[in-house]
């Protein structure tokens, strides 16, 4: 068989290009939800198994593909006469080669199977030795947000501590998460800490994970759950032990009261409210640069807080029926169908991780939630509670039930942000 | 040419005795059914009754397919064909039941029931 230099050159360049691909695509493996950038033992174990599968399949690929390429080049009929040449030997196969290859494939698979089995058991539940040290929380999926419950943090008179959309956990300690849902299937996925497990109706699923260091982690619902599945996100914040304890203590307190000095007048906060497009980006570059710092900053009352406005907002919150769905512990709001807002001001996100919790975003959300997150239950109503709209007898959303104008919204925003 | 002539039929069918065979099989089937009904009232161990019932209905099952449905008299290929479906279906049912009996698959609604039962047992 003849080899033409041009052919060889072509093959070499393509091979090189293939090998260079990872370099070109380097940027494609890092991001807030990268599964390569592992931050805990569960994710690490899973990545290890993935690496084994990569080694084995790449090895098999290079062998098989190499032979395939070689055969194609070597036996290609390159001219009319070669095509019309007498037919080659009509061989039918070779049982030894075939059996040998079957054996080799099985051997390759065993290499994958062993670490797979080990990791299945390891990732299933907190290892026996550390079980006593594990921290337990419940995560509940709802269309389209997450509720986090702390069964071991009981608050006098109001049951367990409940928060929404941001799960705060202790770092360096295994966390066992019971997964529940109140409607359809959702899935709990924080790629840097571990693979996902679904929240299945009528099933008591659980997973465990551990953040080795304090950090701010992105999570997202990974099972299609209806119209707004794409924007059902959440965060996990891991804190050092004493920070965590302090956080818990603050969270267990009822909502903050802000006392307005007698006779003070409200000054409407003047943030930019140029209308934003649907699906406008939710995050600022500042926030992305150091999310954990941003989170920490949110824990303290704002310096330029307008106490009059806050109290105005607090009144509006009740008048506008927000209280039918939301709970604000200590402020007479005890709705159960929506995120608990008792310490809403201390969260970095809004509308299930979709937007950064800053004033313009919150304003947008309160004035027109459906524009921010189409079909959301605050707009459509949930469990028989009317939302911003009520349905006519054909089920069409027609009649406005809650309307919040610009001035009112500024007051409510101020109020919600005061809830640290 | 078209309709078969009547004369040549007789020697083609030596199996006229099948009438009696079929009646006998039907009788056996009826008897087994009777036994099954009695069985469930007998004070035997539950596993024993369950397995006997399974065996008995299997016997009935096989009698119908092999005699009434002629598998015994037909080419084996028919048997193979049917058993592909039967075996896969049986395997799938078994796998499903195994999965759903496993601890992880106990639904939350049933967990409540089991907890209740456990509490009742503890109270006793």
């Amino acid at each position: 068989m003849r080899f033409r230099p041009a052919d060889i050159l072509r093959r070499i360049t393509t091979t090189l290009a293939l090998l260079a691909l990872p370099l070109v695509t380097g940027g494609w493996t890092s991001g807030p939800q990268s599964t390569f950038d592992t931050k805990g033992p569960v994710a690490k174990a899973q990545l290890e198994v993935f690496h084994v599968t990569v080694y084995v399949t790449f090895a098999v690929f290079f062998i098989v593909a190499g032979i395939l390429a070689y055969a194609t080049i070597k036996y290609k009929a390159r001219s009319d006469s070669a095509e019309k040449a007498p037919v080659p030997d009509q061989g039918h196969g070779n049982p030894f080669i075939e059996l040998g290859l079957i054996g080799a494939s099985i051997a390759a698979l065993v290499v994958i199977a062993v670490p797979t089995l080990r990791a299945i058991w390891y990732t299933y539940d907190v290892p026996e030795a550390e079980r006593a040290n594990a921290y337990e929380v419940n995560a509940r999926g709802l269309q389209w947000w997450f509720q986090f419950e702390y069964p071991h943090e009981q608050i006098d008179g109001s049951g367990q501590l409940v928060t929404g959309n941001e799960l705060v956990i202790p770092a360096g300690r295994p966390v066992r998460i019971n997964l529940r849902t109140s409607d359809v299937i959702h899935s709990f996925w924080v790629p840097k800490l571990g693979g996902k497990v679904d929240m299945m109706p009528n099933r008591g699923n659980h997973l465990w994970l551990q953040a080795d260091e304090p950090g701010y982690f992105w999570g997202q619902c990974a099972e299609f759950c209806g119209e707004s599945h794409a924007v059902m996100r959440f965060r996990v914040i891991a804190l050092a032990a004493d920070d965590f304890a302090a956080w818990l203590e603050n969270q267990k307190k009822p909502a903050r009261d802000v006392v307005a000095p007698a006779g003070a007048k409200a000054v409407l906060a003047s943030y930019d409210m140029t209308p934003k497009k649907r699906n406008a980006p939710g995050y600022t570059a500042d926030f992305d640069a150091n999310p954990l710092a941003a989170w920490t900053a949110m824990q303290f009352p704002e310096k330029d807080e307008d106490a009059v406005l806050v109290n105005q907002g607090r009144k509006l919150f009740a008048e506008k029926n927000c209280v039918t769905c939301h709970a604000v512990r200590g402020h007479g709001a005890s709705g159960v169908n929506a995120p608990d807002l008792t310490h809403f001001g201390s969260r970095t996100t809004l509308a299930a991780g979709l937007l950064e919790n800053n004033k313009p975003n919150l304003h947008r959300w309160i004035v027109d939630p459906n524009n921010v997150k189409p079909g959301n239950k605050m707009y459509m109503g949930v469990n028989g509670m009317a939302g911003y709209m009520t349905a006519d007898d054909k089920g069409r959303m027609t009649k406005a039930h809650i309307q919040v104008n610009d001035t009112e919204a500024r007051a409510i925003v101020e109020y919600l942000h005061s809830l640290k | 040419m078209s309709a078969p002539s009547a004369t040549s039929q007789d020697h083609a069918h030596k199996d006229d005795g099948k009438f009696h065979l079929f009646v006998q099989i039907a009788m056996i089937l009826a008897v087994i059914t009777g036994v099954e009904i009695v069985l469930i009232y007998l004070p035997l161990a539950k596993w024993l009754i369950v397995s006997t019932l399974i065996v008995l209905s299997l016997v009935k099952f096989l009698m119908v397919i092999f005699w009434f449905m002629h598998l015994k008299f037909d080419k084996v290929f028919c048997t193979i064909l049917f058993f592909i479906g039967l075996v896969l279906a049986g395997g799938t049912v078994a796998a499903l039941l195994a999965i759903f009996s496993a601890h992880d698959s106990v639904p939350l609604t049933s967990q409540a029931i089991y907890a209740e039962r456990a509490a009742a047992a503890a109270a006793k």
């Binding site: - | 040419m1 309709a3 078969p4 002539s5 040549s8 039929q9 083609a12 069918h13 099948k18 009438f19 079929f22 099989i25 039907a26 089937l29 009826a30 059914t33 009777g34 099954e36 009904i37 069985l39 469930i40 539950k46 009754i49 369950v50 019932l53 399974i54 008995l56 209905s57 009935k60 099952f61 119908v64 397919i65 009434f68 449905m69 002629h70 008299f73 037909d74 080419k75 290929f77 028919c78 064909l81 049917f82 058993f83 479906g85 039967l86 896969l88 279906a89 049986g90 799938t92 049912v93 499903l96 039941l97 759903f100 009996s101 106990v106 639904p107 609604t109 049933s110 409540a112 029931i113």
Partner: protein
């Protein structure tokens, strides 16, 4: 024609590669598929029985083992008649085939009647599709089986009518066939109505002649329809012409028989799994 014209070998069709007639092979493949079908249904039922809902109905309070045993027996006997019908058709005995088919239809209808009775009885006791999970899986499983039986009966009736098709293709026979079919339908429905009325009357005042009378008078239109359609059926049950049906059609009867027997063995499984196991 060729030497083997005249006899038909029912188990081996020399015009096919394997010698198995196409229709038979088709039916066996279909039944293999149907195994999966009922496998999935039965699994659903058993899984929900393994994990019952807290407020579910108690099957033991509903079931009547006598009724179920009776209908099981009926179905077994219909299988026997079906097997005999196949035998008769293979011997080219049109009259005997018709009788056996009628017998099978009759038993099939009794089975269906029992099921209709059972269902109305259960509904009476409060078990419906919606009432709880047991209702859902029970009715769906046994109902699907019942639909299979009903399709089988429909098929049997069509085959029965088919045996009257005249050999002379130009004879306009279709209208007659439709009438015969309609008469069957009317007779079936009306007889079920009458029977339900009678059993209801019986349940209230005890089963005696008076109850029979009360039932019949309560459903007078149905009784009249039943009598009339029966007369039509009997009148149509004789053919004076040479019929097209013959030994060559035995394979049609046989594959129908396979279907019928299969429905029977599915019931064997249901009887054990759905009914008997509940008693343990």
């Amino acid at each position: 024609m060729s030497a083997h014209a005249g006899t038909i070998d029912h188990h081996h069709d020399h015009t096919t590669t394997t010698g198995i007639p196409n229709k038979k092979l088709f039916m066996w493949a279909f039944l293999a598929s149907d195994c999966m079908f009922f496998g999935a249904l039965i699994s659903t039922h058993v899984i929900y029985r393994l994990h019952p809902t807290p407020d579910g109905a108690d099957p033991l309070k509903l079931f009547s083992i006598e009724l179920t045993s009776f209908s099981t027996f009926i179905l077994l006997m219909s299988s026997l008649l079906m097997a005999l019908a196949v035998g008769a058709s293979q011997k080219g005995k049109v009259e005997a085939t018709r009788q056996m088919l009628l017998g099978t239809i009759f038993f099939g209808l009794i089975f269906l009647g029992c099921q209709v009775y059972e269902f109305t009885h259960f509904v009476h006791l409060g078990l419906t599709l919606k009432s709880d999970m047991f209702g859902a899986t029970f009715y769906t499983l046994t109902g699907t089986h019942g639909v299979h039986v009903a399709i089988g009966v429909l098929w049997l009736v069509m085959m029965y009518i088919r045996t009257f098709k005249p050999a002379d293709a130009s004879k306009s026979w279709f209208i007659r066939a439709v009438i015969q079919f309609a008469a069957f339908a009317v007779a079936t429905v009306s007889s079920m109505v009458v029977m339900l009325a009678v059993t209801h009357a019986g349940a209230e005042h005890g089963y005696d002649l008076a109850a029979l009378g009360a039932g019949v008078t309560h459903s007078l239109p149905a009784t009249i329809a039943f009598v009339a359609s029966s007369v039509v059926l009997i009148a149509l049950s004789r053919s004076t012409w040479a019929v097209d049906f013959g030994e060559a059609n035995a394979i049609d009867v046989e594959s129908m028989g396979l279907y019928w027997h299969f429905v029977d063995i599915v019931w064997i499984v249901i009887f054990t799994v759905v009914y008997l196991f509940e008693y343990l």
